[in-house]
Subunit: 309 residues, 3 copies
C-alpha cells in the first residue's frame, strides 16, 4: 500500500474519523470476512500480545465478539468484567488503567457507563484504547459493523437512504451511525417519538420525522434501535405496548418495501421494535450483522494494536 490510511493508535468514536479511514477499516473487515468464509486461518498479527477486555458495564454480546476477534488474531485475552472488582474497588478509572498498562496490556477494550470514558483512558495510557461503548456517547465498532453490512448489501453508501428508527436520544449506536453514514455520503432520516429524537438534528443535514409510515417508505435501509430502559432516567413514552403500536415495525400498514433491508443491533425485543415475521424475513440482515461484527472487530484490533504506534 503506497498511502496507508490508518495512523491512529486508538478507536474512540466515529465522529473524528474521515471517510477514508472508515473505508480503510471496512476494507480490512472485508478481507477478514472473506477469510472466515473460505475457512482460512486469520493472520496471527496479535500473537504474543495481550488484549484486556475491561467491561465496567454489563455486556455479553460485544464482549464475546471482541474476545473472539482478539483470539482469532492469536492474542491472549484477559477479561475484567466485574462491576466492582478489587482492581477497581476504591480505585479511580485512572489508577485502574495505569495498572492494566503496567501489567503489560498491549491494548484495552473499554466499555463504561460514562460518556467520554474511552477518551479519558486514552489520555492516560500509551497503548491503544478501543471504545466498546461509553454511556450514550459512541459505540464505534457497532457503527462500523452496521456500515459494513449496509455496504455489503447495498453497495456504495453514497446517496443511499437510511432511516434510523427508535430511541435515538439515548443511543450511542445511533450517534455513531449518524456520523458514519454522513461521512460515507448516505442520506439519513431519524424517526421515533418526538421525546426520543434529539432536537436541531436537521442542522447536521438530517431529515427528522415522527411519522412511522413516512419513515419506512422509500428507503434503502431501516436501522432499528433497542429501547434503552437502562439509560432513561424518566419515562419518555407511555409503555412498551404503546411504543410498539406507534413505532414498531409490523407487517401491514408499517411494512417497508420488500427491497428495504432491516438492521437491529440486538438483542431484539420481539413484538416491540419489530414483529417476529419481519425479524426473520429475508429483508432482515440482523444475523449478518452479528457475523460481520467479529470480522469488523478483527479489523479494528489489527489496525490499532498490531502496528507499532
Amino acid at each position: 500500500m503506497v498511502t496507508p490510511k490508518w495512523t491512529k493508535r486508538s478507536l474512540l468514536g466515529i465522529q473524528h474519523l474521515t471517510g477514508d479511514e472508515i473505508s480503510y477499516l471496512l476494507d480490512i473487515s472485508g478481507e477478514y470476512r472473506k477469510a472466515k468464509t473460505n475457512g482460512n486461518f486469520p493472520s496471527g498479527c496479535l500473537e504474543g500480545k495481550t488484549i484486556v477486555n475491561l467491561f465496567l458495564e454489563p455486556s455479553t454480546r460485544t464482549r464475546v465478539a471482541f474476545e473472539l476477534a482478539a483470539k482469532g488474531l492469536q492474542a491472549d485475552v484477559i477479561t475484567i468484567a466485574e462491576k466492582s472488582s478489587s482492581l477497581t474497588k476504591g480505585e479511580s478509572l485512572r489508577d485502574t488503567a495505569r495498572n492494566i498498562q503496567a501489567l503489560g496490556a498491549d491494548g484495552i477494550i473499554l466499555r463504561h457507563s460514562s460518556p467520554g470514558a474511552a477518551q479519558f483512558l486514552d489520555n492516560i495510557v500509551d497503548v491503544p484504547v478501543i471504545n466498546a461503548g461509553d454511556g450514550a456517547h459512541e459505540h464505534p465498532s457497532q457503527a462500523l459493523l452496521d456500515l459494513f453490512t449496509l455496504r455489503e448489501k447495498l453497495g456504495s453508501l453514497k446517496g443511499k437512504k437510511v432511516t434510523i428508527l427508535g430511541d435515538i436520544l439515548f443511543s450511542r449506536v445511533a450517534r455513531s451511525n449518524i456520523w458514519g453514514l454522513l461521512k460515507m455520503g448516505a442520506k439519513v432520516t431519524l424517526a421515533g417519538p418526538s421525546t426520543l429524537v434529539p432536537k436541531k438534528m436537521e442542522e447536521l443535514g438530517l431529515t427528522v420525522t415522527y411519522n412511522l409510515k413516512k419513515a419506512v417508505s422509500n428507503t434503502d435501509a431501516i436501522m432499528l434501535l433497542r429501547i434503552q430502559h437502562e439509560r432513561q432516567t424518566q419515562t419518555h413514552f407511555p409503555s412498551l405496548t404503546e411504543y410498539s403500536k406507534m413505532f414498531g415495525l409490523r407487517e401491514g400498514d408499517s411494512q417497508p418495501d420488500s427491497r428495504t433491508i432491516i438492521l437491529h443491533p440486538g438483542p431484539i425485543n420481539r413484538g416491540v421494535e419489530i414483529d417476529s415475521t419481519l425479524a426473520d424475513s429475508p429483508q432482515s440482515v440482523i444475523l449478518d450483522q452479528v457475523t460481520n461484527g467479529v470480522s469488523v472487530r478483527m479489523a479494528i484490533l489489527d489496525a490499532c494494536c498490531s502496528s507499532t504506534y
Copy 2:
C-alpha cells in the same frame, strides 16, 4: 476405519444412541485417556475452531471439564455462564442460539434448567449441540464417563449388576445411565425411598427395591446419586439425617462387598449419601470418574465437532 460408527452431529442424550455408538465413544475416550497417562499431547482436531460453553444453569465441575477437554483439542473456548446476561436478557433461547451461531461458534455445549432444551437448540442451529444437562431429562456426558469407568474397572458391562441408589426421580444422571446401562447389556437395579423412585420402571427391564441391604449386596457396582434439593419442588423425605439413616452407604450394616465398586457424580455430601471412610476407600472410583470425564468429553467433542457434518 472401514465402518465409521458415529454419524451424528449432536449429542443430546443416551436414549437414542445404539450400543455400537456408545462403544465407539468409549473406545475413543480410552485413546484420549491413554494419551494423557503417557503424557502425549492430544490431537489438535479442533484447532481453529470455537466452542461456546453456554451454561444457563449454575455449574463449575462440568463446565471446567468441558473447557479442559476443548482446550486440550486446541479449540478456542468462550464461556457464557451468566444466568441473565445481556445476550440472553429479554431474548429467547432461540435468538440466543442463532446469535451464538452467527458469531461463528463451531459447537455449542448447553446446560439448561429445562428438559428438552438441548433438542430445541439442535433444531435451531446448524452446528453440533452437546447436552451438558437439561433439567431432569438427560446428562449424557456424565453417563458416558460413568460407563467408561465401569468398563475400565469391570470389563465388558454385559451381564454386570449395577445398582443406582438415591434420588432417581429428579436425576438426569440416573435417567441417562439407565439408558446406557441397558444398551450395554447390564442388569440394573434402582433403589431409594419409594417417593424418589419413578413408578413402572420394571417395564423397562429394571429391578426396583426400597431396601438398602438388598440393594447393595451381590452387585458389581453401586452408582450413588446426589440429593438434588434444587430440582425438588416439595419434600420427598423427612430430612437429610433421615435419608442418611435409611439410604446412606455406611460401614457395617449397609456396607457393600469389598469387590463392589462405588461411583458418585459429585459433589459428595459426606455423611449423607455415603460416609467418609467408604468414599475414600479403595472401592471408591469417584476420583477416577472425574479424571475420565475429561477424556470422555474430548471424545464427544472429537466425534461431534471435528468432523464435517
Copy 3:
C-alpha cells in the same frame, strides 16, 4: 547449573525459604523481566500444562497477574473464582482440591481467606500449590515482587533500611515481606498505630516505632500497606481521616527524603495511606511493582510447575 537452588514443589510462604532460594527466584524473575523489555517471547515451559487459578476470596489484581504469567509460559489457565461454585458447594476444600487434581491440573494457585489453607492443600494434592494469599498469613508472590523491585532500584538488600508502614497486624503482605527482608539482610522498621503493630516484634531483630516522622526519615525505602477493612473484626483506629492525619504519607512534615523510594501493593487509597502527589512522584515505584509482578509470577510458576517434581 551445577548446584540447583530450587527443589521445592510448592511456594507456600517466605518464612521457610532460604536467602539462596529467594535470590534464585529473583534472578529468574530478572530474566523474564528482561525478555519482556526486549520484546522476546518468553519460554514455553508450561506448554501442554494446565494451571488452575482457585480464587476462593475476591481478587482481580493478583488473579490477572498470575493468569498473564501462566499464559505467557504457554499454559492453559482455568480460573475458578466463584465464591460458592457448585464445585465447592457442600464440599470441603479437601474434596475440591482432590477433584481439581483429578481433572488434570498441573498446578494450583490458591487464594483463600483462611491462614494455612495453602499448606493444607499442599498436604492433599501431589501437584504444586502456589499460595496467592491465605488470610492474614502469607502472600509470598507479593513479597517476592516487592523484593525484586527493591533490589532493582537499590541494588543488594544487605544493610538497606526498609520501613513497613501501616496496618501490619492484619497484613499478609507485611508478614511475608518481614521474612523476606530479614533473610536478604535488610534492616526493617515497622511503623503504624500501636493498635496495628503486632507486639514483641523486636525479638525478631526489627525496630518498631509509632512515630511517623521517625519512620520515614533516613530510610532507603518505605513499603506502605493498604488499610485492610475486611480483615479487621473491630475498629483499631478512629477513622480513615484520623489514620491519614497520623500515618498518611504527605508532602511537607511527613515527606520522606527524595532518595527514599515508596512502594504500595495496591490498590491505593489516595489521600489515606499516601497523597496523590507523592503516589505519582518519581520516588514512587508502585507501577514498577505491578509490571514486575508478572515476571516474578512467571519465575514462580517456572520454578514450581515446569520441573518434574
